[in-house]
């Protein structure tokens, strides 16, 4: 017997897995100019992509430790903020990732054409 109805946490986990890679691409694509985390969240939201702070900040740190982003602390209007910007390696990786994404999206569109 096939179990059709999955628990909400299972669906949630799959959605998270699906979003994980996309969020990396999204964050890298918006960091041509240096931005702090909250400004990046707003910018992604403007493009219809919602991401919570608890997900974005660790993601930015991981990208930085992987050598794709640079960061520095700046004090603006008496509040210190950490600004992130994509570096040369990050730009090269973004270019490859974008190409991969487009090819994947094209294939997925075809595969999902019959799913209602």
């Amino acid at each position: 017997m096939v179990k059709n109805i999955q628990s909400p946490s299972t669906v949630e986990n799959i959605v998270q897995e699906l979003r994980r890679g996309a969020l990396i691409l999204a964050a890298l694509s918006q960091l041509d100019d240096e931005k702090y985390g909250y400004a990046l969240i707003n910018q992604l939201e403007e493009h219809g992509l919602e991401i919570d702070q608890g997900t974005l900040y660790p993601l930015l740190r991981r990208l930085e430790s992987q050598g794709l982003l640079d960061s520095k602390w700046k004090v603006e209007s008496s509040r210190p903020r950490r600004y992130y910007v994509i570096n040369k390696t990050g730009k090269a990786v973004l270019k490859d990732l974008a190409m991969e994404w487009r090819s994947l999206a094209k294939s997925m569109e075809k595969l999902l054409a019959d799913v209602k």
Partner: protein, 337 residues
């Protein structure tokens, strides 16, 4: 914004030491940005609760900062594992310590202390190994603690700690040196007491011999407390009370030792001061007199140091209790209004 500080404090408890300060600064700045955008200057407590809820439960936020990959125990389970491992460790060590003290009290033999120490070394890896095994199975079947599924309410976060976090590396040094000292004590105890030999017996300290198991017990309690502190990361009311209790035990022990030494000196027909005892160097057993005097001086210094330390702990305990009482008083007032 006490609620934000309490929230950050709780996240910080689960973050790696080397990144904690930096991550917390960034989260604080982000929470401030969110509050400013949502509340326009004058945020209510409800706004703060909302913002914190959006960011997520402290353990979940902290877990997301650990690297991804294949885990024996993953980041979501790890804080829960730390808590359970701590409880199991405390229960194992505490239980054996009580058993050791009872056994010494009954038999009054140094060997009991050595046995207890060796048993402790055996049982700690066994107990921790069992916990690791259970959590590895939970990880394999993707089981997560229920507490994570409940709706997180920031108002239930623990109050802000008044004490600064302890220096963890210093704590490790204390544990290592304490253990080496305890091993020496046990070795001395097992080899027939405090007897320095150079061809013939130079001196023995009958008072030290008499109280040896209790001295070893006191050192062992100190090591257990240091392990507990290293795990908790800061002084809390429970650890402070335990430390005061352990110190009082040491003070009583040192007083008994000093009293015993004084009784021994008067039995030998000499005065109270070490200088006076040096005059006896040339008489038979003179070295024993010097040795006894040195021990006596060391006990006195230890007594003074521990007494001062205990006074500071008592003062800080009272200060923190008073300040907690006044904070909860304000909270009750604001609730009743």
């Amino acid at each position: 914004m006490e609620l934000i500080e309490r929230y950050l404090q709780e996240i910080g408890r689960h973050l790696p030491d080397n990144k904690r300060a930096d991550i917390l600064s960034e989260l604080r700045s982000s929470l401030d940005d969110s509050l400013e955008a949502h509340a326009n200057g004058q945020p209510s407590e409800e706004d703060v609760v909302q913002i914190i809820k959006e960011m997520g439960a402290p353990r979940k936020v902290a877990a997301s900062y650990y690297p991804e990959g294949q885990y024996l125990i993953g980041p979501e389970l790890f804080p829960f594992f730390q808590r359970i491992a701590g409880i199991v460790l405390a229960a194992t060590v505490g239980g054996q310590l009580i058993a050791a003290v009872v056994s010494i009290a009954v038999s009054h033999q140094a060997d009991s202390m050595v046995q207890a120490f060796l048993q402790l070394l055996d049982s700690i890896p066994a107990a921790l190994g069992s916990v690791v095994l259970v959590f590895a199975i939970m990880q394999w079947f993707n089981v997560h603690p229920d507490s994570e599924k409940k709706d997180f309410d920031p108002r239930t976060l623990p109050p802000l700690q008044k004490d600064k976090p302890i220096d963890r590396s210093r704590q490790i040094i204390r544990i290592v040196f304490g253990t080496i000292f305890l091993a020496f004590l046990c070795a001395f105890g097992a080899s027939g007491g405090f007897t320095a030999k150079y061809g013939v017996n130079l001196f023995t300290d009958p008072v030290l011999d008499k109280y040896f198991p209790w001295i070893a017990a006191s050192v062992m309690i100190g090591i257990v407390l240091d392990i507990l502190l290293r795990w908790r990361g800061r002084w809390e009311i429970s650890t402070r009370i335990a430390k005061i209790g352990a110190n009082i035990f040491s003070i009583v022990l040192l007083c008994l030792l000093l009293q015993g030494q004084a009784a021994w000196s008067s039995q030998m027909g000499i005065g109270d001061f070490a200088v006076e005892q040096f005059q006896f160097t040339n008489r038979p057993g003179g070295f024993q007199l010097i040795g006894m005097a040195s021990f006596r001086l060391a006990f006195l210094v230890a007594l003074i140091v521990i007494a001062v330390q205990t006074t500071i702990h008592i003062y800080q305990l009272i200060r923190n209790s008073l300040s907690n009482a006044s904070t909860s008083g304000i909270k009750m007032e604001s609730t009743s209004q």
